[in-house]
Amino acid sequence: MIKSIIILIILSLCIGTAAWLFFIWTVKRGDFDDVEGPKYRMLDDDDDSPSQPGASQGEKP
C-alpha cells in the first residue's frame, strides 16, 4: 500500500516537473511574447500556392 502510494507520488512529481520544464522552455523561446498573433495565424490556410508562371501575365504591353 505505502509502496504504491510512494511510486504514484514520485510519478506525479516527475510528470509535474516535466510539464514545468516544458513551460519554462516555451517562455524562454518567446512563445508568450505575442499573445495576439496565434488567433489569426491559426486561420491561415496554407493551400495558397503561387499561380503558374505566365498564367497571370494577361496582356503585356
Binding site: 514545468w20 498573433g37 489569426y40 495558397d48 496582356e59
Partner: protein
C-alpha cells in the same frame, strides 16, 4: 500601353477570390480607393478584368496575386489609416543600416524592424508570407501587438537594404529599430513574472493533491506515518512557491515596512508567512498544516498581477514609437555635396536636404523650396500644410511634394519630437500613482489585524491559558484574516468588466484605470478627430448667379479628381454622392497650398483659395465663411462660385455630451485651434468651458492645475500633441484612428471611432466599482464574523479554511454576475 486598356470580355465574376472586390466598379481592386477615370488601368489577371487606380496598385496586385496570396484581399479589414503617399521614395543604404544588424554567424543575420502601415492581421500575414519568398530571407516574424518584426536573413545572399526595400515595395514603411533599455527591462520583468506564476501554478497543483489527502485524513483518520510523509512533501512543494514565486510580495512587504506604510503586499505577506510559518511549526510538532492556503494566495494574486503588467507594458513602447518618427540619418549639404550623417551629429546652422517622402529629422527653417508638409502625426490636423522659405518645420513631419533645403535650428535632442517624448515621460512620472482600493483597505486592515492578534495573545496570556495556547489563538486570528477574498474581490470584478468592455472595443489598461474612470468628474476633449471627424466634408455649395449647384460641383470634381489632397477627396466624395463621375479631361497642375489649374475643353479652370484666384486676375466677391475652408472656382477668369468645407462634428457628439453631463461630469474643450472655432464647437455641444490656442505644455499644465483643485480628470485626444496631456490626466483616453503614440500613452482606448463608447466605458467602470464594493463588503463581513471567533479560541482552523473557500466562491460568482449584467445592458 493602350493594349492594357483594350476592352476584354467582362468576367462572369463567378470565381470567388476577386468577385467580392469587383463589386464596386469605380474603386481600385488593390487599394479600395475611388479611381479617377483618367488614371484607370484595366488589367487581365487569371481571365478576370480588374480595375486599378494606378500602375503602382496594379504592380502590387500582380506581386500578391502572382505569389498566390489572393486571400489577402478576402481577409483584410482596414479600419486604420495607412502610410501617407510620397513616403516611399526614401532609399535605404547598407552603411546606415549596418549598426542595427545582429550577426549570428557567417550565414545568419537578423535585423529588428518597426513596421509602419500595418493596419490589420492580413497585413502581417501578407508580409510574413511574401518576405520569406525573397531570396536570402529565412524567417520573418511580426508581433501583432507592437508591429515589431525580426527578419532573419543570409547576409551572403541579400543585404539589409534589399530587405527593407522589399518591405517598402509592398507599401509598408520599415524602420530599423533597437528596443531601448527601459523596454528590454520591462520585457524581462514580464517574462520573470510569467515564470513565477507558472511555477506557482504547477507546484500548487501538486500541493492540492497532498492537501486533499490530508483533509481526507483529518475527517476519516490517517496513518500517522503516511500523514507525516505527505506533510513533508507538501512542505517541499510549498516552500518554493512562498520564497521564489512569492518573492515580489515579500520584497514589497519589506519595502512598505521600511517606509512605515501598510500596503496590499504587507497584508499578503502577513497571511502567507503566518500560514507557512505555522504549518512548519505544526508539522514538526505533529499538528495540522495549511500550506495550501499560503500557496493559493500567492498563485491567485500573481495571476492578477500578470494581467495588469501585460496591459501596462504597452505604454512604454509608445515613447519609442514617438522617437522613431524622426529618422536616424540626415543628408547634410556641404558645398555641392550631400553626405549621409547621423541626425544626432547635426548642429544648429547646418544645412540639410530633405527629399519628398522623407520625414524631417530635426527642427529647422526652410532655406529654399516650396513644399507641402504632412503634420498629421504631430498636430492631428488632417490637411497638409504649405511650407516655404523662412517657415519652420518640426521633426517627424513628412515632406510630401518637393525637395527642400533646411537650416537646422535645434539639435536632435532638442527637437519637437524629443521634447514631446520628454513631456510624456515627465507627465508619467509626475502623475501620482493611483492608490488602488485594495491598498487603501490594507492601510486600515493590516494594523487592525496585528492589534487584534496581539490583543488575543495578551488576553490569553494573562488569563489562565498556557503560553503555547495563547500563541496558537493569536496565530489562528492571523490565518483567518487571510486576504484571499480581499485579494480576489478586485481582480475578478476587473476581469469580468474589462472582458465585456473589450467585446465592445473598449480597452482598460488595468484595474486601477477602471476604478479611476468610475470616479472621474471632469472630461477634457481635444477637438480635431475627437469631437469632429478629423477630415473635411463639403458643407455648402454657393454657385455664382446664373450657375447651378450641380454644374459647379461637376466643374469642381473635374479639376479635383486627380488629387489626393484631403480637400479634393472631400469634393470627389460629394460629387459621387450627387451622381457625378469625376473625369478630368485635361492634365491638371497643382500649385502646392494654393490650388489647382486645368486647361480644359471649355477653357481654363482654376480651383483653390481666394488668394490663388485673385492673383490670377479673377474677381472674387467678398464673403464671410466663418471658420470654414473656401474652395473657389473660376472658368476663363470668371468666378463660378465656391464650396465651403468644414471638419464636421461627429453626429453622436451632442447626445454623448448630454449623457455625460447627466452622469455629473464637467465637459471642457482644450484645443490648439483658433478661439472662434473653439467657441462655435463649444456652443454647439453646450460644453461647460473652452480653451483655445493651447500648446501641448499648456494642456498638461491646465490638467495639472485642475488635479490640484481636487478634480479627477479624463482627457480624450488623438494626436501626438495630446500625448503629454493624455499621460498627465488621471485617465487618458484615445480613440481609434488616432496616432499610435496617443493610443499607447493612453489608459483607456476606444477601438470604435464613436463617442458613445466613451459613455459606455464610464458606465461599465461605475458598475464594476459597485461590484468591487459589494465584494469587499462581503470579504469584510466574513472577517468580522471569523476574527472574533478565532480570537475567542472557538474556531478550529479547518472550519476557518472552509469558510474562507466559501467566501472566495461568493466573491467570484458576484463578479461573474457583473459580466452577465453588462452583456445584457448593451
Amino acid at each position: 500601353m493602350s493594349s492594357l486598356n483594350a476592352t476584354a470580355p467582362v468576367s462572369t465574376g463567378s470565381c470567388c477570390s476577386i468577385s467580392e472586390t469587383m463589386a464596386s466598379p469605380d474603386t481600385c481592386v488593390h487599394c479600395n480607393l475611388p479611381i479617377p477615370p483618367a488614371d484607370l488601368v484595366v488589367d487581365q489577371i487569371d481571365g478576370k478584368e480588374l480595375h486599378f487606380c494606378c500602375r503602382g496598385c496594379q504592380g502590387v496586385y500582380r506581386i500578391i496575386s502572382g505569389a498566390g496570396l489572393d486571400s489577402f484581399y478576402r481577409n483584410r479589414s482596414w479600419d486604420q489609416q495607412g502610410v501617407a503617399s510620397g513616403a516611399f521614395d526614401a532609399e535605404y543604404d547598407d552603411a546606415s543600416l549596418a549598426a542595427h544588424v545582429i550577426r549570428r554567424d557567417e550565414t545568419v543575420a537578423e535585423i529588428p524592424l518597426l513596421i509602419e502601415g500595418i493596419r490589420c492581421a492580413s497585413c502581417v500575414w501578407l508580409l510574413e508570407k511574401l518576405l520569406v519568398r525573397e531570396r536570402g530571407i529565412t524567417t520573418m516574424r511580426i508581433n501583432y501587438g507592437t508591429h515589431r518584426a525580426v527578419v532573419r536573413f543570409n547576409p551572403q545572399e541579400t543585404t539589409p537594404a534589399r530587405v527593407l526595400a522589399s518591405i517598402s515595395r509592398l507599401g509598408y514603411l520599415p524602420h530599423p529599430f533597437s528596443p531601448g533599455a527601459a523596454q528590454q527591462a520591462a520585457a524581462r520583468e514580464q517574462r520573470s513574472l510569467l515564470i513565477r506564476f507558472g511555477t506557482a501554478a504547477f507546484l500548487s497543483m501538486q500541493l492540492m493533491g497532498f492537501s486533499f489527502a490530508l483533509y481526507g485524513g483529518y475527517f476519516h483518520g490517517i496513518d500517522p506515518d503516511i500523514r507525516r510523509l505527505i506533510q513533508y512533501l507538501a512542505a517541499a512543494v510549498a516552500t518554493p512557491v512562498v520564497f521564489y514565486a512569492g518573492w515580489p510580495f515579500l520584497a514589497g512587504a519589506w519595502r512598505s515596512l521600511r517606509n512605515r506604510s501598510a500596503s496590499m503586499d504587507l497584508l499578503i505577506c502577513l497571511g502567507v508567512c503566518t500560514a507557512y510559518g505555522y504549518s512548519i511549526a505544526a508539522m514538526i510538532k505533529g499538528g495540522e498544516v495549511y500550506f495550501d492556503t499560503a500557496a493559493m494566495i500567492i498563485t491567485l494574486i500573481l495571476l492578477g498581477r500578470l494581467f495588469e503588467s501585460a496591459a501596462r507594458n504597452r505604454s512604454i513602447s509608445g515613447i519609442d514609437k514617438l522617437l522613431q518618427l524622426a529618422p536616424d540619418s540626415a543628408n547634410r549639404v556641404v558645398g555641392d555635396e550631400t553626405q549621409v550623417v547621423s541626425s544626432a551629429s547635426l548642429t544648429p546652422g547646418d544645412i540639410i536636404l530633405v527629399r519628398p517622402g522623407e520625414r524631417i529629422p530635426v527642427d529647422g527653417q526652410i532655406l529654399d523650396g516650396v513644399t507641402e508638409v504632412d503634420e498629421a502625426t504631430i498636430t492631428g490636423e488632417p490637411m497638409p500644410a504649405l511650407r516655404q522659405n523662412g517657415d519652420r518645420v518640426a521633426a517627424g513631419s513628412l515632406n510630401l511634394s518637393t525637395s527642400i533645403r533646411l537650416e537646422v535650428t535645434r539639435v536632435a535632442a532638442e527637437s519637437f519630437i524629443a521634447r514631446m517624448a520628454r513631456l510624456v515621460e515627465e507627465a508619467q512620472d509626475r502623475k501620482a500613482p493611483i492608490q488602488s482600493m485594495a491598498d487603501r483597505v490594507a492601510t486600515i486592515f493590516v494594523p487592525l489585524v496585528t492589534i487584534i492578534a496581539a490583543g488575543t495573545w495578551a488576553f490569553w496570556w494573562f488569563s489562565e491559558a498556557s503560553h503555547a495556547e495563547a500563541l496558537l489563538h493569536a496565530v489562528s486570528v492571523l490565518i483567518v484574516a487571510c486576504p484571499c477574498a480581499l485579494g480576489l474581490a478586485t481582480p475578478t470584478a476587473v476581469l469580468a468588466a474589462s472582458g465585456s468592455a473589450a467585446g465592445k472595443g473598449i480597452l482598460f489598461r488595468g484595474g486601477d484605470i477602471l476604478e479611476t474612470t468610475a470616479r472621474v468628474d471632469l472630461i477634457a476633449f481635444d477637438k480635431t478627430g475627437t469631437l469632429t471627424h478629423g477630415q473635411p466634408t463639403v458643407e455648402q455649395i454657393i454657385p455664382a448667379p446664373g450657375q447651378t449647384e450641380t454644374a459647379l460641383l461637376e466643374l469642381a470634381s473635374h479639376v479635383e479628381s486627380g488629387s489626393n489632397h484631403p480637400l479634393a477627396i472631400a469634393v470627389q466624395t460629394r460629387a459621387r454622392a450627387a451622381g457625378i463621375m469625376p473625369a478630368p479631361d485635361k492634365p491638371v497642375t497643382a500649385v502646392p497650398g494654393r490650388g489647382l489649374q486645368m486647361n480644359g475643353i471649355n477653357g481654363q479652370v482654376l480651383a483653390g483659395s481666394r488668394a490663388f484666384l485673385t492673383d490670377n486676375g479673377v474677381e472674387v466677391p467678398a464673403l464671410d465663411s466663418g471658420i470654414r475652408t473656401e474652395v473657389h472656382l473660376a472658368l476663363d477668369g470668371n468666378w463660378q462660385g465656391l464650396l465651403l468645407l468644414n471638419d464636421l462634428l461627429r453626429e453622436e457628439a451632442e447626445e454623448t455630451v448630454g449623457k455625460l453631463k447627466k452622469l455629473g461630469m464637467a465637459t471642457v474643450l482644450l484645443t490648439g485651434d483658433r478661439p472662434e472655432t473653439a467657441r462655435q464647437v463649444s456652443d454647439m455641444l453646450a460644453l461647460a468651458e473652452y480653451h483655445a490656442n493651447m500648446n501641448p505644455a499648456d494642456k498638461t499644465a491646465w490638467i495639472e492645475n485642475r488635479q490640484d483643485q481636487g478634480h479627477l480628470v479624463m482627457m480624450v485626444g488623438d494626436g501626438i500633441n495630446d500625448a503629454p496631456a493624455l499621460s498627465m490626466a488621471d485617465v487618458g483616453c484615445a480613440m481609434a484612428g488616432g496616432t499610435d503614440i496617443a493610443l499607447e500613452t493612453s489608459d483607456l482606448v476606444l477601438n470604435r471611432p464613436h463617442l458613445e463608447s466613451l459613455y459606455e466605458a464610464i458606465f461599465i467602470a461605475r458598475k464594476a466599482m459597485q461590484v468591487i464594493k459589494q465584494n469587499l463588503f462581503w470579504a469584510f463581513t466574513y472577517n468580522l464574523i471569523t476574527i472574533p471567533l478565532a480570537a475567542s479560541g472557538k474556531l478550529a482552523p479547518v472550519w476557518a479554511a472552509a469558510a474562507m473557500a466559501g467566501s472566495s466562491v461568493l466573491v467570484v460568482s458576484n463578479s461573474l454576475r457583473l459580466g452577465r449584467l453588462l452583456r445584457r445592458t448593451f
